[in-house]
């Protein structure tokens, strides 16, 4: 059975994606910073899938632990790495709280580089593998109300793009997911426009659909591709005056 390591397993999107991979015949290996919470997610998945699902500690803010984490994974070597780690934070607060800004950059970008590097090397050597990262349309262009998060996601998007180019000839797929709005803990209580908002299950389905072949940069709701095309191409003189 192919195994997929899932970072940020307590995220609503990760839970749905782990289940969808499990139902498609993969073995999920869950990891997250709060081991009790990861354990509860693993318990749910193991009941649904009818087989044990391991739960491990992974904290993006502790990069020194990432090599040991990757090298000591249980079971046969994994075939895929999926990362749903992310932190939105309160943007107002980031303007006065550099620590929070730093935590946002770590969770969405810098804290993820080490483990992706290890997986990339291993998969490259094997000539096979799958790397999936959840980035965001927020990284496509910085906006007034979330540019710290956006900047971190922009960095992660560029990182995945470079990795994809590097690995394109070695049989390793690198998938960047830009889900648009999703109904999750991250967006709880925010009024999201229905037509632009996906459910975690829709995101999961879109990801599993491209595990073997197909696009390597995906927007879950197709309209987002168009929206971001327009936003990216707006002249700066107009863009800077807009409020959204």
């Amino acid at each position: 059975m192919r195994a997929i390591v899932i970072l940020g397993a307590t995220s609503d999107i990760a839970r749905a994606t782990a289940l969808a991979f499990g139902q498609a015949g993969w073995q999920p290996i869950l990891a997250g910073r709060d081991i009790e919470a990861v354990g509860r997610v693993a318990g749910d998945l193991s009941v649904r899938l009818g087989r044990p699902v391991p739960a491990l500690v992974f904290d993006a803010a502790q990069p020194e632990t990432h090599r040991a984490f990757w090298e000591n994974l249980p079971g046969p070597r994994p075939d895929a790495l999926f990362c749903a780690v992310g932190l939105l934070g309160d943007h107002e607060a980031t303007r006065h709280d550099p620590d929070l800004a730093q935590r946002i950059v770590t969770a969405n970008f810098t804290g993820l580089l080490g483990v992706f590097a290890l997986a990339a090397d291993e998969f490259e050597q094997r000539g096979k593998g799958l790397l999936i990262g959840i980035s965001s349309v927020a990284g496509d262009r910085g906006r007034a109300h979330n540019y710290i998060y956006g900047a971190a996601k922009a960095g992660f998007t560029a990182f995945l793009s470079g990795l994809r180019q590097r690995l394109s000839r070695s049989g390793v797929r690198v998938v960047t997911v830009k889900p648009g709005f999703v109904n999750t803990a991250m967006t709880e209580g925010k009024a999201l426009p229905k037509a632009l908002t996906a459910s975690p299950q829709e995101v999961a389905k879109a990801i599993v659909a491209v595990a073997e072949k197909g696009a390597e940069v995906i927007y879950v709701k197709p309209v987002w591709r168009l929206i971001m095309l327009i936003i990216r191409h707006m002249p700066e003189s107009i863009f800077k005056k807009m409020r959204f």
């Binding site: 318990g43 899938l49 709880e188």
Partner: protein, 454 residues
């Protein structure tokens, strides 16, 4: 925000909180003047609506444990039957009782004590629940079962959220050998024939009929009865070899071979054609056999997303009553004639013969041995007077209405229909919710909200 249930009537202007843990749920309940629990909002009226606070089980959606030796599944209340089917049907397990949609939560199935096409064999959902963890009005979690706090357990089934918030529960699934149902369709030219057909179908696990509400005179009661059994692998001979090789796997949706246009075979005006096809297109003997996926047999309406929208903005209500078996023939005749004469109802209604129903002390579940009929009515001015007339007829025959479908009955109708069951239920509620803080718009309308308790 505006919140409605399946019938889109009535509308609540309320807050929908979705706690992620029992502790958060308890805190919400402690801090609220009044509240009610809500699952998937598949009840038709106002059973799971309240103002100003509704507590949703949407984020309490984890499966907790499964025992493959017994089939017992423990899960949080927000887990849906659909998720249970996805996880367990391929492993040979099926919900013991299922309503006509798979998009209901475990908590909702318990709180309404739902029934299915197998009521005459398996009773209601609660007959198969092993225990329930309830967060009470005071914010404490109480486990109840047939042994622990049996009255609270009984009252919580069919109690429509009024005893507390169901946080988690365990239910016993039943074994199946395939994802298919061996179905027989029997056509009946009138009420006498369909009632005979039900009597003769007592040996079948599942039975239900679609009845033509527009037919009058000698055709009154014209209907099609469907009865079924979970198919054994050796009964799947007619299926392609590929499907037979994986009997517990549902066929991919696009290869379904459905005899009629099932998605449109629903309780509404555009189902006329489908019904006629089924009715007139069958063999002369009146009985025909087929092998269908369980989705087709149990959930034909689920194939159409949001079909409730066809009734437009004003919404609709489903009128579901039960009358005792003895009153069956005369009662159904009079009520059907009244509905046909009004011209207001949907073309089709669902008819089912319930079996015996136990009501352990404190329980006020809807079923009683007898005939139950359910049909849709679009909301309109002429509707409510008609339904009041029907209420009076139902009560005179000793019957009652189903709370989970109701949006308009009077406190008086409710009290007369449930009688002593209601008194016993209220005694249990009084003990566990002395300030009567668990309230829905429905319970207020039905006089179950204390003066002063808001």
């Amino acid at each position: 925000m505006r919140i409605t249930n399946w019938g889109k009537y009535p509308v609540a202007e309320s807050t929908l909180a979705a706690p992620r843990s029992q502790a958060d749920t308890a805190q919400l309940l402690r801090g609220a003047d009044t509240a009610i629990g809500r699952g998937m909002g598949r009840c038709y009226g106002d059973s799971s609506l309240a103002e100003p606070l509704i507590i949703s089980s949407r984020r309490l959606d984890r499966m907790l444990d499964f025992n493959p030796a017994t089939g017992r599944l423990a899960a949080e209340a927000g887990v849906t039957l659909s998720e249970i089917l996805d996880a367990f049907a391929p492993r040979g397990w099926f919900p013991p009782v299922t309503p006509g949609t798979r998009f209901v939560s475990l908590g909702g199935a318990i709180a309404s004590d739902v029934h299915g096409k197998n009521h005459h064999v398996s009773g209601c959902f609660g007959q198969h629940t092993a225990w329930v963890d309830l967060v009470t009005a005071g914010g404490e979690t109480v486990r109840c079962s047939p042994e622990l706090e049996p009255e609270l357990f009984a009252a919580t089934h069919g109690g429509h959220g009024l005893t507390g918030f169901i946080a988690q529960a365990a239910v016993d699934l039943v074994p199946i050998q395939s994802a298919y149902i061996r179905q027989e369709t029997v056509k009946a030219a009138n009420l006498g024939e369909i009632m005979d057909a039900f009597e003769q179908s007592g040996g079948w696990t599942y039975s239900v009929a679609w009845i033509d509400c527009a037919a009058a005179g000698s055709g009154l009661g014209r209907s099609v009865l469907m009865r079924g059994e979970h198919a054994r692998p050796d009964e799947l001979g007619k299926l392609p070899a590929k499907l037979r090789a994986a009997p517990l796997t549902l066929p991919p949706a696009h290869t379904l071979s459905i005899p009629v246009d099932f998605p449109s075979f629903v309780l509404n005006p555009w189902s006329v054609k489908a019904f006629n096809m089924l009715y007139y297109g069958k063999a002369h003997s009146g009985v025909s056999e087929s092998i269908v996926p369980y989705t087709t047999f149990f959930y034909p309406l689920d194939a159409v997303n949001e079909w409730n929208r066809i009734y437009g903005k004003r919404g609709f209500t489903q009128y579901q009553f039960v009358i005792p078996k003895e009153a069956g023939r005369a009662g159904l005749e009079k009520i059907l004639a009244r509905i046909a004469a009004s011209g207001l109802g949907s073309f089709l209604a669902v008819l089912k013969l319930f079996g015996r129903q136990d009501h352990p002390k404190g329980n006020m579940s809807f079923p009683m041995e007898g005939y139950t009929l359910a049909l849709d009515f679009p909301i309109g001015e002429k509707l409510f007077p008609l339904l009041d007339t029907l209420d009076a007829m139902v009560l005179d025959y000793g019957g009652r209405l189903y709370l989970t479908k109701d949006a308009r009955m009077s406190a008086e109708t409710f009290r007369r229909g449930y009688g002593a069951l209601l008194d016993d239920f209220l005694a249990v509620k009084q003990r566990w919710d002395p300030q009567w803080r668990l309230q829905s718009l429905q319970s207020r309308r039905l006089g179950l909200a204390r003066q002063g308790g808001m």
